[in-house]
Amino acid sequence: MAKGIFKSSLTKKYTMAATGLFLISFLVVHASINAMIFFNDGGKTFNEWGHFMGTNLIVRTMEIGLFAGLILHIVDGLVLFFQNRAARPVAYAYEKPNASSKWYSRSMAILGTLILFFLIIHLKDFWLKTRITGLTGEKHVFVNGVWMENLYSEMRLVFTELWVVIVYLLGCFSLFWHLLHGFRSAFQSLGWNQGQYGQIIAFSGDAFSVFISALFASMPVAMYLNLVH
């Protein structure tokens, strides 16, 4: 393998794409498990899955990979952002960027930063409490002969505040626009956008972005409005 590949602009693209797709795969798992709250069984199924994810050795190992992937995505994104700014040292006096591209495609760094802010709040609300500081609400629940963290009750508690629900909706909104560009962009970077595949990728990306963001957004809303029980 050529030495230059590690410094190459294309390697940075591949890294962005690979970590992006990895994070997308995480979103699928996360949204699927969270959607268990809609079984309306008092959070029993959801808590069981949450317990599995929190105790399974393979999942816990992958969690380290997840944080590593996220950090790599952020660091690579920042490097690209600053290199790209340096590539145009003198700005145009007059530009019409909307004539040739979408605002969200040009705003991946700012959308990513908004998602990062949301993630910090989100991790503080759930991950930190589950793994380190302990849950604030009804801490444990007995399901199928096992005591486990009552994440469902924690969700109910967190989403009683309107401003928290609004923050989560803004997070989902940022995620939607980030994915709308990011999904198809990842395939383009890996060289898979070709002929008819391009249309399939574009449609899948748009559909995925709408579906996953709406599914995530529906959770705090449903909790706040007492639509799940």
Binding site: S9, L10, Y14, A87, A91, Y94, A99, S101, G191
Partner: protein, 266 residues
Amino acid sequence: MTTLKYNHVVINNNMENGMNLTLKVWRQANAEAQGQMTEYKLGNVSPDMSFLEMMDVLNDGLIRKGEDPVTFDHDCREGICGMCSMFINGEAHGPNRGVTTCQLHMRSFKDGDTIYIEPWRSAGFPVIKDLMVDRSAFDRIQQAGGFVSVNTSGRTLDANAIPVPKADADKAFDAATCIGCGACVATCPNGSAMLFVGAKVSQFALLPQGHPERHDRVENMVKQMDAEGFGNCSNIGACEVKCPKSISIENIARMNREYMAANLKG
């Protein structure tokens, strides 16, 4: 960028016929000088003029007044040489699609319009004077691998004797329509040159003559592209919209594949 300073210069001020335009043109004496936007009033502009002819009229007026004419690149004036550039009213080659500046006509503007005219802005394209930029970075990228080595000992094969699937020939031809004008770099918010390099890599990678050197080619061209200070492609897609030859970003995807294959195979 410094604050804009306007020098008001009224040229060819015959307001009876044609369009009256306000031009805001980037004037920069040389590569080291501090440039500025300069305002000119230009009257009697025919809608049938090409944009470059309008610039010629402006320059004629400036020369007659004993002033320095606006320097800009141009050559064939029929959209095939890739010399004309200009960032016009916020867009590379102006508001139309699939055309170069020389193919842009004044009928695309209306009487009383203000037109901003700026050079390509990129770390890889330093301004030489006014609207003329140094695009030799593209030459160096081409020299790094944008060619097919051919034995010229007299036993060369007739290119037409080598069978090429029609679909591949079409794609290679589409990529080869790149005239190297640099509108992709000028338009890209990241100042990336990947549409240019993608087109040049694709043009050869798709044809049997280009196969033997494909891996070295893509590695060397990408290396040179990075060394020239161009930005990184983030798949925004503005380049293919403003490319005067409408070259698709599928060529960038092909370059990405070629580069990956080159490095995986060592």
